[in-house]
Amino acid sequence: MPDDGKLGLDGNGYDPNRDGDLQEQFVEQWRTNAYGCFSSGHKFCREVCPVMQVTRNENHTPTAFHASIVAMEKGLVDVADVADDFVHCTQCGACELRCPNTLFTGDFYRHRTRTVDVVKAMRALMVATGNEREGWKLWNERLAEYHNEPVLGEVPVLQEHVRDWAEGLDIPIGGETILFVDCEAAYYRTSYTRAFAQLLQKAGVEFGLMREQWCCGGPAAEMGYVDLARRHAEHNVADWRAVGAKRIIAPDPHDYIAFTEDYPRYFGDAYDFEIVLGVELIDELVKEGRIQLTKPIERVVTYHDPCRLNKRKGVHKPPRDLLRAIPGLELRDVDHVTQWSYCSGGGAGLPIEKPEITAEISNRRVARAQSLEVDTLVSACPWSERPLTEAGERADEPLEVVDLFELLAESAGIEVGGQTRAPQPEAQA
């Protein structure tokens, strides 16, 4: 069966240098993929969609995204008509997993319904056709200026502070193995990164930091700023090559997606780095006995499957194995398939454009955790931890949100340090 839903070079589904209308190119690129959904019409994806669960607006459903492309082809809508609809997505990937086409016949026909890529491509089309969203525009202008994500709002994220989190840890620059530190984890939840780095040090893993680390570019790509994302990727890869890096450790699931999905698209075969997912590495180190979890953690916890681990990459076992390896800790687990419909709302720029939806998604996730009568919600993604922490603090009975690496470090007897929230502006200055 012909599948003309292949991605273009930049993953945006069209080539701005080609003749012809950009929207037409977009439709041509994605119509077969869209029709796979449109003709099925089951809508099984809908109740697992975290945004739809909150807004209950049919425009915000994965099926509507695909139907919009068919409607574009028929001349019923154009990109301006649907631009706001396509903001309503965290790119969590639940819809793709729940699609009957993917589930039952996808392997045989080599057809997987692609919705995350469609949303990214439509957002790129929005940027290319002057249908930008104001919040994302400003955010990406700042990214272009500072090269790190403006995670702190008005507080500048300057290069001179990108390694502040590592103070006192004596981590070298460069080397064969590079630890890539996500902006959220470098400037905001630094305890996450300090815990991870110290776990590696405890296990004797040698690693260094980049000479000049820019944002991975993933969020910009998610918001449709394809060229900007690519510029950041090119910088980072050049920095890795300059120090002779062969292996990149990505503790943050969002970076891992960028390095394993976006970067190979940008650089093709020349991209030959080994990308290591943080939680899988720590799991190996614990299982090999190189990290000893000896200090009991007397908490009753449940685990939040971060979307980009569980739904996008199928990684759900290592975090659970690690939690079960911590002495004293009681895990009240919700299986990873049930968690297809869970999310923090923190992904794909949603909190920038629609903070109220992100907040409500997180409120609901925290409420689900509280119904299990736990004292802690453990996550494994700093992007989820900010909205979840805020929701936990807002709740009538506050719930603490802790990162998995932070708990592991504590159990390994490490004094983590760092902070779990933004520093006060004067402290940064």
């Binding site: 069966m1 099925s40 109740e47 009957p100």
Partner: protein, 507 residues
């Protein structure tokens, strides 16, 4: 003296009034994408005439009072009102046929009360059954309305269409599971509809039994704004068994044996014919990696306590193997029963006349038929589809099944479906009319054999709708009196089920 609601009634002044009623502009949606995205249900659709199906505005109410005020406005100005819940029906009940105001109830998805003493749960019409059951699970109860669209359809749509459940033989269908409801009438009044007495009574003999009237009307008599539903103890045991047969008639006899067995825990017995088996063989992942001599399959499911189901399962195994049946094993039985919502229609299995794979939309034509006529109807339906397939080259026969349909009485009534793939992107007006004619011929066969056009999807599609008066026969005049009395201006989902003729005739 037509009083049919007209399409051009929604102007800026109406939008302003709607905004004043709703008080939240995010819930009043006259923009193009909101209208485009509320035109379609999962059934073939004349894509070339998409705009004909667009409402003029969609609203997302949160309360019965908001619904009531909007309906009063529509009634005053003679503007069509189209209720929409999940929009997952297999007919066009939730689709605007004359524009107007679409009342989309998805935000009314609250659980208002769980009563574990009198065993009811009261919900808004926008809640999904799977989501409801996630909440009910911790109380040891469940709401057993289980359509193929279980993961996505909503309670309000189930009530509006008179939905049918895969577990209906054991637990009843939607109409048997709704204890009472709150309804906004076409004139805007909010009324309580039940058996009589309070909201939680299952049986009364007072006055008239109105509840069934408001179940399965396809959105033409009112809008359910709250429903009190049955709570059933969670079954201790689920049992499923699939059996293969070398010919249809052996399976057909077994179907009769099983459904007349008197086993009260039978939740469903379904017979798949050879066309359906062939369809499922189109890829190597399907549930039937079975040899060519398998020409029919029977699936049986039972639910209940262990004390009931375990001994009953031995009887099922014996009956299923009778008439040459071969048990397909625990893995296929349990696995395919578990995937019953997702498995049986996928666009990727479409084939053109030359056997080339093309993505097709799925239409399932559903009839209500008695056991005695199943073999004859099967032959005639397949012959009709084959004729249209040859003539137009955009249709594909995806096979048939017959499924127990009598609530708590599985022995004589069947939901019978023929699934037809349609190469929707090839539709033009000529092909579409061919399709409408095909549907009409299929429905006419059902009527000829004493059946009904539809067991659950609703007779709201072109090809079916104009046969409704014929099917209703002498009762059609009763339908006219009821519809015109409750909806004097034909504002409630006009264009459906031939009801317009009541008004065109000057009622």
């Amino acid at each position: 003296m037509t009083t049919i609601a007209f399409k051009s009634g929604v102007d800026d002044a109406v939008i302003d009034e709607l905004r004043a009623i709703i008080g939240d502009d995010d819930r009043v949606l006259p923009n193009t994408s909101s209208r485009v995205n509320r035109t379609r249900v999962p059934a073939p659709f004349p894509v070339h005439r998409w705009a004909d199906y667009m409402p003029d505005v969609a609203i997302l109410p949160k309360t019965a009072e908001e619904v009531s005020e909007v309906v009063k406005l529509a009634n005053r100005l003679r503007i069509p009102v189209v209720p929409r819940a999940g929009g997952t029906g297999l007919s066009d009940g939730a689709v605007a046929r004359r524009g107007g105001i679409q009342i989309d109830c998805k935000l009314m998805n609250q659980i208002h009360e769980i009563d574990l003493v009198d065993r009811t749960v009261t919900v808004g019409p926008g809640i999904n059954m799977l989501k409801l059951n996630e909440e009910l699970r911790k109380h040891g109860v469940f709401y057993p309305d289980d359509p193929a669209s279980y993961p996505c359809s909503l309670v309000g749509g189930r009530i509006g269409t008179g939905g049918w459940s895969l577990l209906g033989a054991r637990f009843g269908h939607t109409r048997d599971l709704v204890v009472s409801m709150q309804v906004v009438l076409p004139t805007g009044e909010i009324v309580e509809i039940g058996e009589g007495g309070g909201r939680k009574l299952r049986k009364s003999s007072t006055a008239l039994n109105l509840k069934q009237l408001f179940t399965g009307h396809q959105g033409t008599l009112g809008i359910t704004t709250e429903a009190t539903l049955e709570l059933v103890p969670r079954p201790e045991v689920e049992f499923a068994a699939f059996f293969a047969y070398e010919d249809y008639m052996s399976a057909y006899r077994t179907l009769g044996d099983l459904t007349k067995s008197g086993l009260a825990t039978l939740a469903g017995v379904v017979l798949f014919d050879e066309w359906k088996i062939a369809y499922l063989r189109r890829d190597d992942e399907a549930y039937i990696p079975q040899p060519d001599n398998v020409r029919a399959v029977i699936a049986v499911a039972m639910y209940g306590t262990r004390a009931e189901v375990e001994p009953a399962s031995k009887i099922v195994m014996k009956l299923g193997r009778h008439n040459g049946g071969r048990y397909l094993g625990d893995e296929i039985s349990a696995g395919d029963w578990a995937s019953r919502h997702d498995r049986y229609a996928t666009p990727l299995h479409g084939r053109d006349k030359n056997g080339q794979a093309v993505m097709m939309s799925w239409h399932c034509e559903d009839a209500a038929l008695n056991y005695s006529v199943l073999p004859k109807v099967r032959e005639e339906w397949h012959a009709i589809v084959e004729r249209y397939r040859e003539q137009y080259g955009i249709f594909d026969d995806w096979g048939m099944f017959a499924y127990t349909s009598g609530p708590h009485k599985p022995w004589a009534d069947y939901l019978v479906e023929i699934d037809i793939g349609i190469w929707e992107s090839r539709l033009n007006e000529e092909n579409w009319q061919g399709w409408v004619n095909c549907k009409r011929e299929i429905a006419e066969v059902s009527l000829k054999y004493g059946g009904s056009i539809t067991a659950c999807h609703g007779a709201t599609r072109e090809g079916d709708a104009h046969l409704v008066p014929q099917e209703m026969g002498s009762a059609w005049e009763v339908v006219r009196r009821i519809k015109t009395a409750l909806d004097p201006n034909n504002i409630m989902n006009p264009g459906q089920q031939s009801f317009d003729e009541f008004y065109e005739e000057g009622a």
